[in-house]
Amino acid sequence: MEHMGIEPGRLQFSWVSSAESTKFVEVVKEVTEAIKALGPNEHFLKTKAKVA
């Protein structure tokens, strides 16, 4: 990913069982915060704009 210029933090993994709604909400908040901190994703978008 780094090789392609994408911050690894843009891909997040977690394991939440179907009974763990509280954990789910926590993880959503964490993931959102982590990605918010990285700022908008600007990779590949330009290429796409050209293609489009």
Binding site: Q12, S18, F24, V25, V27, I35
Partner: protein, 66 residues
């Protein structure tokens, strides 16, 4: 919108996290509205291609949860 809000593609396992997401709803728990859920049968279905394509399509992040 005054502040920039990220858009996150969430690949959730139908049996685990998708269920947790439903349950969070039943419990009326609030969380940020940034995720867009894509239901997959199992995280085993997840392929790197999905991640790359989501990033290419302008998602600011990808979250995979089993």
């Amino acid at each position: 919108m005054s502040e920039w809000e990220p858009k996150i593609a969430a690949f959730l396992c139908n049996w685990c996290s998708y269920g947790a997401a439903d349950l969070a709803g039943v419990g009326r728990m609030e969380y940020p509205p940034n995720i867009r859920v894509i239901r997959i049968p199992c995280t085993g279905r997840m392929s790197p291609k999905f991640f790359l394509s989501a990033i290419r399509e302008g998602a600011d992040g990808v979250w995979v949860s089993g």
